[in-house]
């Protein structure tokens, strides 16, 4: 159900985002010149290996880059045309949770171990809605039911360590949707879970997003997750977006060698394990990013120009771009 991005204007637009981390070893360029847009009701994936700047992008949008050492140095982040970066702290606080919510990777560490589940959902409602205690209690149970948690009364009174991983992730989802935000950013929401539970949680997330009509940015290293969920995909490498395409296009016709490598490394049912492609090497050190294309050292088709010049994004189809010198102008 891909929707036309231009219908009502995008809910989120990120333009030229730069985020750095000042460490003892030097300045890490975690996010460099990233532009992303998310349409209303759209599910957008951001894919890449760990350390390529996905999470930092998410934290930058939320205004939660840990400072020190981190800092957003450049760029515009527009939520429904309002610039988040120029907002005051208190105005931004009203946006977080209510208009943009976030779901994190490891539900164990992102839930406070000494507060009950009910309290942790309730504080969100208390902050953002004018509901009284009774209404909020009913709402909490309602939310827990919505994320298909059986026996919601019991779970609301429980502490995080008393729940299974899948249940905790459902709790985080319930918290995120409690104020029916327009945008949800999910950072590797299924990575910490069992494979069987992963599929359920993903399905649930999709269903709920659809229900409340919000948009979703799904950050993952798992292209399988993207294939099942997303409308459109951004591929990130070394802090930059290197390819952007509708999901179908990306899977059928990947343009960037990195994307091709990622896709080739997915285990498919119709493919023997021996033929599984392994992407060699690691993400470069972002303290001193290499000149030219950051992927060139791992690229099998690198050319001379890749060493010296940064590839510029080139349209490769409708709503599709890739930054690689191999793509014909």
């Amino acid at each position: 159900m891909p929707k036309d991005v231009s219908q009502n204007g995008p809910i989120l637009e990120v333009e030229g985002l730069h985020t750095i981390l000042r460490t003892t070893e030097g300045v890490v360029r975690a996010v460099t010149d990233v532009s992303i847009s998310v349409g209303r009701g759209e599910i957008v994936g951001i894919v890449g290996e760990s350390g390529c700047g996905k999470s930092m992008t998410a934290l930058s949008i939320m205004g939660l880059v840990p400072s020190p050492p981190g800092e957003v140095t450049e760029g515009r982040i527009l939520l429904d045309s309002a610039d988040l970066r120029s907002m005051s702290q208190s105005a931004f606080q009203k946006v977080r949770g209510r208009r943009i919510a976030m779901i994190f990777q490891d539900p164990m560490t992102y839930l406070n171990p000494v507060l009950t589940i009910g309290t942790q959902i309730d504080e969100m409602l208390r902050q953002h809605t004018g509901q009284n205690r009774k209404q909020r209690e009913a709402r909490i149970l309602d939310l827990l039911r919505k994320v298909k948690i059986p026996d919601p009364e019991r779970v609301a009174a429980a502490y995080p360590h008393q729940l299974s991983g899948g249940m905790r992730q459902r709790v985080l989802i319930a918290t995120a949707i409690s104020c029916e935000p327009e945008l949800i950013i999910a950072d590797e929401p299924t990575t910490a879970l069992d494979v069987t539970v992963q599929a359920q949680v993903l399905e649930l997330l999709k269903e709920i997003i659809h229900d409340i009509g919000s948009s979703l940015v799904l950050i993952t290293h798992d292209l399988g997750v993207v294939a099942e969920t997303c409308d459109r995909v951004y591929v990130m490498y070394a802090g930059r977006v290197i390819e952007e395409a509708p999901m179908q296009t990306l899977f059928e016709n990947p343009q960037h060698p990195y994307t091709q490598g990622l896709l080739a490394s997915i285990l498919r049912v119709d493919q023997p394990v021996e033929e599984l492609y392994v992407l060699d090497g690691t993400v470069p050190n972002l303290t001193a990013p290499p000149s030219g294309c950051a992927f060139r050292d791992r690229c099998e088709v690198a050319m001379d120009i890749c060493r010296d010049q940064l590839p510029i994004p080139i349209a490769t189809g409708p709503c599709a771009f890739a930054a690689c010198w191999r793509i014909p102008q």
Binding site: S55, L59, N285
Partner: protein
């Protein structure tokens, strides 16, 4: 956030690199300088000075050029006694910490390596020693058996081992599961060889921190005991000087101020140094004890 970056290029292990590994900052540099200075002062200067008990004509002389720290009730030079006091206090601190470390490492190694009943029994005993008020027991023991400097060192050392034992045991429990220890076991190395050549060297970093802390707490404990009059009168320590100063507080402040400053500066330097080592060796515990 799961951001991993490739490690910076390995540096050749030169002397400069190993000093750099200490990540010295201002406060730890000062601490190390103070400690080195204090050690030189304590163990070299008394050789150049006269006996600490030489009495002069001037009683209760305030600090002057001839007597930079003044003179005491018997006309003895406080500076000379301060230098000798440094020697006593530091010796007690270091030797007691060594005693505690030897006992603690042995017991901790046995407990951690054997596990089972032996481990439980030894750890119970060490827990007991951790809740027993060290100061009270030391006071009792020395009051009963007499205050001889060797005896004081032994008592303080005997009371300090549980902390070292606990750390050693923890390191042993985790290290004995490591691959290189397993490998040594499979090729049939003797237990003793494994403990001394494989495990102990790797357990050293946290133990060094523990020993530093032992030295500082031993100095404080000795000072407390001496202050109560349980010090060895033939080896005057800073604590003993403070004991003598107590009754002349109004007449001769210098008798109390200088030995006390000696203790504070030495112990503070040890603590800062120990904290710094903890930070460097175990970044996760940053700021904690």
């Amino acid at each position: 956030m799961s951001m991993t970056y490739s490690a910076p290029k390995p540096v050749r292990p030169t002397f400069r690199a190993s000093v750099a590994k200490l990540h010295l900052n201002t406060s730890s540099t000062i601490a190390i300088a103070v400690l080195i200075g204090m050690l030189l002062f304590a163990f070299l200067l008394p050789l150049a000075l006269g006996t600490p008990n030489a009495m002069g004509d001037l009683s209760f002389g305030p600090p002057s050029l001839a007597h930079p720290m003044g003179t005491d009730d018997l006309g003895r030079d406080v500076f000379t006694r301060f230098a000798y006091g440094a020697r006593s206090s530091l010796s007690v601190g270091i030797l007691a910490a060594l005693t505690a470390s030897i006992i603690g490492i042995s017991i901790g190694a046995i407990a951690g390596y054997s596990r089972g009943i032996v481990d439980i029994a030894l750890m119970r005993v060490s827990e007991l020693f951790q809740v027993i008020p060290r100061f009270f027991l030391a006071l009792l023991v020395i009051a009963i058996f007499g205050s001889n400097i060797m005896f004081i060192i032994l008592t303080i050392g005997l009371l300090g081992w549980p902390e070292v034992a606990r750390i050693t045991r923890g390191e042993f429990l985790s290290l004995r599961e490591r691959e290189y220890v397993m490998a040594a076991q499979t090729i049939g190395q003797s237990k003793r060889k494994i403990i001394f050549s494989e495990i102990l060297p790797n357990a050293m970093p946290p133990l060094i921190v523990a020993m530093t802390m032992q030295v500082s707490s031993a100095i404080l404990l000795e000072a407390g005991l001496s202050f109560l009059g349980l010090g060895d009168p033939s080896n005057p320590s800073w604590g003993l000087m403070l004991n003598e100063a107590q009754q002349f507080l109004t007449r001769a402040w210098w008798m109390a101020v200088f030995p006390g400053l000696g203790i504070v500066i030495t112990v503070a330097a040890l603590n800062v140094f120990g904290d710094h080592l903890t930070d460097v060796l175990n970044p996760r515990l940053k700021g904690a004890h």
